[in-house]
Amino acid sequence: MLSIKNLHASVEGKEILKGINLEIKAGEVHAIMGPNGSGKSTLSQVLAGNEAFEVTEGEITLNGENLLELETEERAREGIFLAFQYPVEIPGVSNLQFLRTSVNAMRQHKGQDEMNAAEFMKLAKEISKQVDLDPAFLKRGVNEGFSGGEKKRNEIMQALLLQPKLAILDETDSGLDIDALKVVSDGVNALRAEDRAILMVTHYQRLLNHIVPDYVHVLAGGKIIKSGGRELALELEERGYGWLGLKDEETADSSATSSAN
């Protein structure tokens, strides 16, 4: 489904991703782990087409289609969804209006009829319950005054609503208490499907107790330095990133680490 080859990307002239290779097939769940600053969010944003990042080399295809030629909104309509690490507020725009505009943009792209307000309300209420968000949240401004946990649940709700082909979840587990973690994980597990791929970005392995990945990759210094199965995450938890010759606060431009590859 998703194929990333030798991907290099930079921001403000600084190279962050230094040759990423990754293949994800439909139905698979991949976890990307790595120290802070290693480029996990950058990878997520580049996949979604954030223009703040410049792709300098390499290719990304989704089902054979060159993603780099598509605008952000076109990629979204092709089925790429990003759950943000830091969801931004849009004051005064109700969640409901925002979500309906989004769903209808996707439907229009597929040649389907728009959903009217009543139909949409019904659907949105059902899904908000699935992530344990009070339907009253639908009336509030997008992320306006939401707590960290509420923002994350709101992101998962959107994924469930939009039913993407590829869901990229950027640290959807961070800042959640045990109960919220359970709700969010249940939501992500509900997303798992034969025809859908999930790319989970996380700093901690605890999420992986709830959502068992098919593959785990370690990203450091802008490169994937190790890949393995579920057991790699457990090993990381036990031995820390130090085991791979990494300090936890490793940043992308400290090249000392790349020898581990």
Partner: protein, 482 residues
């Protein structure tokens, strides 16, 4: 090439959809202003002697006044002798007796603007006074309103039919000498709306005036007077459009509101005069004086405005809070794009005890436009326990536009309380990325974000017009992204 021209035309049409010209025969004065012109104007309107005297007094005063230059706007000097001060569609009788007698060409014009005047298709629950260039061409729902005792007619009719009311209140809120444009208006105003709501009456429907400038080189000087007697309530809305022309046109209106004891006036404006093209050519100069006097105790005057049009806007709907416990409100959305300039805001003059006022201003600037909020909150010595809350938010789209805030506070009473909040924000890249990541077009995203920003003001508009205002923003923002 024909096709390209067509494409360009399509584009322009989409940007300002009310830009057409009605082909109608008009009686238009030669350009120029002097006492004879004023006498002729007054004569055509069959005005009583006192009205002509009133105009001439204003004119003589105006000659001694200087055009204001303190506003944060720039425009070429206006030659007041190159403007025509009267233009009206030709017709046999002086006043249309019924809608059947109104020229079908005019009815078509209003229909095209979305304001059907004909009995069968009238807007439900909204009475309309339609002003075309210098005259009122039709007023709908006269009968049901008359039954409720509400007078809703053109100001020309009111001068003839209700001289006592007009004489008692005209110029009491905005006197001749108030400012340059108000002085000019007092001398040459041609038509406008008059409303009187009697004691204890809640006006049974929304009242509205739709102003249309059609003729070239003509100024529009309308005058509106609304009087809400004790314990009455009225909600009034005005809308305005003009054809696209390369020359600037002048619109200098005066609106006076008077609220007696326990009366409430809600005045809403959706202003969509032609703003000029992308290069800043053409457009309306909108120099307007709007003021309400809350003279009665517990009275309330509320201004809501959505300003998206005009090349230059100079406008400060204000409240004089004289009555004890009287309330003034100002809710404003002002959007400027391309080369538009707006200097707008309000004045809240607290004179009575326990008077209170609220100001919510939302300025949106896009393109190379300039948008200024100018507000004065003043407490007189008698304004014991008076309060004001001001919130002034600016939103920038792109980095070539400007937003400015000029809040002034003057207090002669120590017990008065003022609260002021101001923010400036941008439509951020992160917000745009979030919307686009969810499949939403950039243009739609901007308009959604801007609408959200204006929500507090839109909710003050009558339902029918809140939707229209939202759409208007969308059209006005076209081309502001990318």
């Amino acid at each position: 090439m024909a096709t390209t021209d067509q494409e360009v035309n399509e584009l322009i049409k989409r940007e300002y959809e009310h830009g057409f010209v009605t082909d109608i025969e008009s009686d238009t004065f030669e350009p120029g202003l002097n006492e004879d012109v004023i006498a002729r104007l007054s004569g055509i309107k069959k005005e009583p002697e006192w009205m002509l005297e009133w105009r001439l007094k204003a004119y003589r005063r105006w000659l001694e006044m200087d055009e204001p230059d303190w506003a944060h706007v720039g425009y070429p000097k206006i030659d007041y002798n190159s403007i025509s001060y009267y233009s009206a569609p030709k017709r046999k009788e002086d006043m249309p007796q019924s809608l059947d007698e109104v020229d079908p060409e005019l009815l078509k014009t209003y229909e095209k603007l979305g304001i059907p005047l004909h009995e069968r298709e009238k807007l439900a629950g909204v009475a309309v006074d339609a002003v075309f260039d210098s005259v009122s061409v039709a007023t709908t729902f006269k009968e049901p309103l008359a039954k409720a005792g509400v007078i809703f007619c053109s100001i020309s009719e009111a001068i003839r039919d209700y001289p006592e009311l007009v004489q008692k209140y005209l110029g009491t809120v905005v006197p001749h000498g108030d400012n340059f444009f108000a002085g000019l208006n007092s001398a040459v105003f041609s038509d406008g709306t008059f409303v009187y709501v009697p004691k204890g009456v809640r006006c049974p429907m929304e009242l509205s005036t739709y102003f249309r400038i059609n003729a070239a080189n003509t100024g529009q000087f309308e005058r509106t007077l609304i009087i809400a007697d004790e314990g009455s309530y009225v909600s009034y809305l005005e809308g305005c459009t003009a054809p696209m022309r390369d020359e600037n046109q002048l619109h200098a209106a005066v609106v006076e509101l008077v609220a007696l004891d326990d009366a409430q006036i809600k005045y809403s404006t959706v202003q969509n005069w032609y703003p000029g093209d992308e290069e800043g050519k053409g457009g309306i100069f909108n120099f307007v004086t709007k003021r309400g006097a809350a003279i009665g105790k517990n009275s309330k005057i509320s201004w809501t405005q959505v300003e998206t049009g005009s090349a230059v806007t100079w406008k400060y709907p204000s409240c004089i809070l004289r009555g004890e416990n009287s309330v003034g409100e100002f809710y404003s959305v002002a959007l400027t794009n391309n080369y538009q300039q707006a200097d707008t805001g309000t004045k809240m003059i607290h004179l009575g005890k326990n008077t209170s006022s609220t100001i919510i201003s939302k300025g949106i600037s896009a393109g190379k436009s300039s948008n200024a909020y100018r507000g004065l909150v003043k407490f007189g010595p008698g304004a014991e326990g008076a309060r004001n809350f001001t919130q002034c938010d600016s939103l920038l789209i792109g980095d070539r536009c400007g937003a400015h805030t000029f809040p002034y506070i003057e207090s002669k009473n120590k017990s008065a309380i003022v609260e002021h909040e101001a923010t400036t924000s941008k439509v951020s890249d992160e917000q745009m990325f979030l919307c686009r990541q969810r499949g939403i077009d950039p243009e739609q995203a901007v308009s959604m974000i801007v609408n959200g920003f204006c929500k507090e003001v839109f909710k003050e508009l009558p339902m029918e017009f809140a939707v229209e205002a939202g759409k208007l923003l969308e059209v006005s923002l076209e081309g502001s992204v990318g």
